[in-house]
Amino acid sequence: MFNICTRMLGDRAAAEDALQEAFVSVFTKLHTFQGRASLGAWMKRIVVNKCLSLLNRRTLFTESLDEQLHEVEDESSERDWAITEADLSSERIHQAIKSLPEGCRVIFTLYQLEGYDHQEISEILGVSVSTSKSQFHRAKKLLKEKLFDLKPN
């Protein structure tokens, strides 16, 4: 849960505040848990909502469409970013994810790591499904670049 907070908020102190508030909410709202989803999923949703309340949703996705379009994945450059599993490590991936810009980092965290789909993310964040998909695409591209840069010589 703490790692969801650090990835969404990008700041350790803010993540600790969010976790603290979220857990207090979990305990105080336990009686409202209906058992429709797993307890873990219910708790995760409270944590995500708490993080979102600390983020300014309106400034998450303010980049221009042009900027986003320029960052659409260019398959032709795949050759230049050759990377193998041996070049990867949990620490490098952890660092690379944390260095992503806020908007696409939040979507990457929710989609790739926490298992939400784009429809759910669009509802949680109040953005369109296409924005969620394009930001995830952007996150993948930036991650590849960052992991390539972090690749050991």
Partner: protein, 178 residues
């Protein structure tokens, strides 16, 4: 290339969660929750035996371990190093015993008090199970990096959190068993 990265992330999902909250977070949560009004008195305490056992084991055991792992006086470096070595050897052994007691207690509770007729209890206990990987990660860290004051503190905080969760959950589980 993305497939390699995505596959690596999926295969190493838990290892990527490297951030750990400071102990003050759990203490702050406990303080906030402790400030809340207590549940109604007079209810049957289904989990009393578990709570008592776990609380004694954890408070006495961890208090002892912590005091052993952090020498009170500096002394000579040699003596301090020997103390640390001894405390850490003791720490691992005691910690393993404590974990085993914890698991046995959880198993007893599961067998006796959960089942299809108690869906919420089952959910809560599965949430408790989900805390175990963090403990295993800490023990792996001890094996890899050796014992230190910091790791003792982390284990202490983790087990206290686990106990606190079980205590809180049990209040709600008891309501279901009424």
């Amino acid at each position: 290339m993305w497939k390699i990265i995505a596959s690596y992330i999926d295969d190493h999902r838990e290892e990527i969660d490297l951030d750990e909250p400071g102990g003050q977070v759990w203490r702050a949560i406990e303080q906030k929750l402790d400030a809340r009004p207590e549940l109604k008195k007079g209810k049957k305490r289904y989990f009393a035996y578990y709570r008592a056992a776990a609380a004694i084991v954890l408070s006495v055991g961890l208090g002892y371990l912590l005091s052993r792992a952090i020498p009170e006086n500096d002394g000579s470096k040699l003596v301090a190093a020997m103390d640390q070595q001894e405390a850490c050897a003791d720490f691992e052994k005691k910690q393993a015993r404590m974990e085993s007691t914890f698991l046995r207690s959880e198993e007893l509770v599961k067998n006796a008090k959960t089942g299809a007729q108690y869906p919420q209890s089952s959910q809560f206990l599965s949430a408790m199970d989900s805390l175990r990987p963090a403990y295993l990660k800490l023990t792996a860290k001890i094996k890899k990096d050796g014992c230190s004051e910091e790791i003792v503190k982390q284990v202490n905080d983790h087990q206290r959190t686990r106990l606190n969760w079980m205590t809180r959950f049990s209040d709600h589980i008891e309501e279901e068993h009424q």
